[in-house]
Symmetry: C2
């Protein structure tokens, strides 16, 4: 089920920036978002002084603005051109 | 020591958006950044296919673009005006 939830988030994120999916960055970004949210339990105490209604749009704005500003390297690989030789 | 590290990050973040500190959002934002980074251990396997050199600027861009795009409610409170009555 976790995999499914990540998939849904990844698709929602990729809907805002279609280049993310071919660049294989949609799922990592979903996981980064989960990181922000899941880590809350370690430090966030609602109402001291921030509460959920204030925090939620903050995280949403932070993430969506962040994603919309990303520089995504295109993964178009013309024939005959070398790619990622390690 | 954790408190100190958070303080340093909070100041670095507030340096990019001075409104954050009076709005008491500098430390929460530092914690959200730590969330993205600390949560990595749950899902990130370097090189499959993302590696650290690719991931690091992604997280940095995501966060910095995110912060620079935030709508921060000013906390200027003119005398005699009501604030945050709950």
């Amino acid at each position: 089920i976790e995999r499914e939830v990540v998939g849904h988030f990844a698709r929602a994120i990729a809907a805002t920036r279609p280049e993310l999916e071919p660049a294989s960055l949609d799922k990592p970004l979903a996981m980064l978002l989960f990181g922000m949210i899941n880590w809350l339990f370690t430090w966030f105490k609602p109402g001291q002084p921030l509460d959920y209604p204030t925090l939620a749009p903050l995280v949403a704005d932070l993430f969506l603005n962040g994603v919309s500003g990303l520089h995504i390297t295109p993964v178009i690989r013309p024939e005959g051109e070398q790619t990622h030789v390690t």
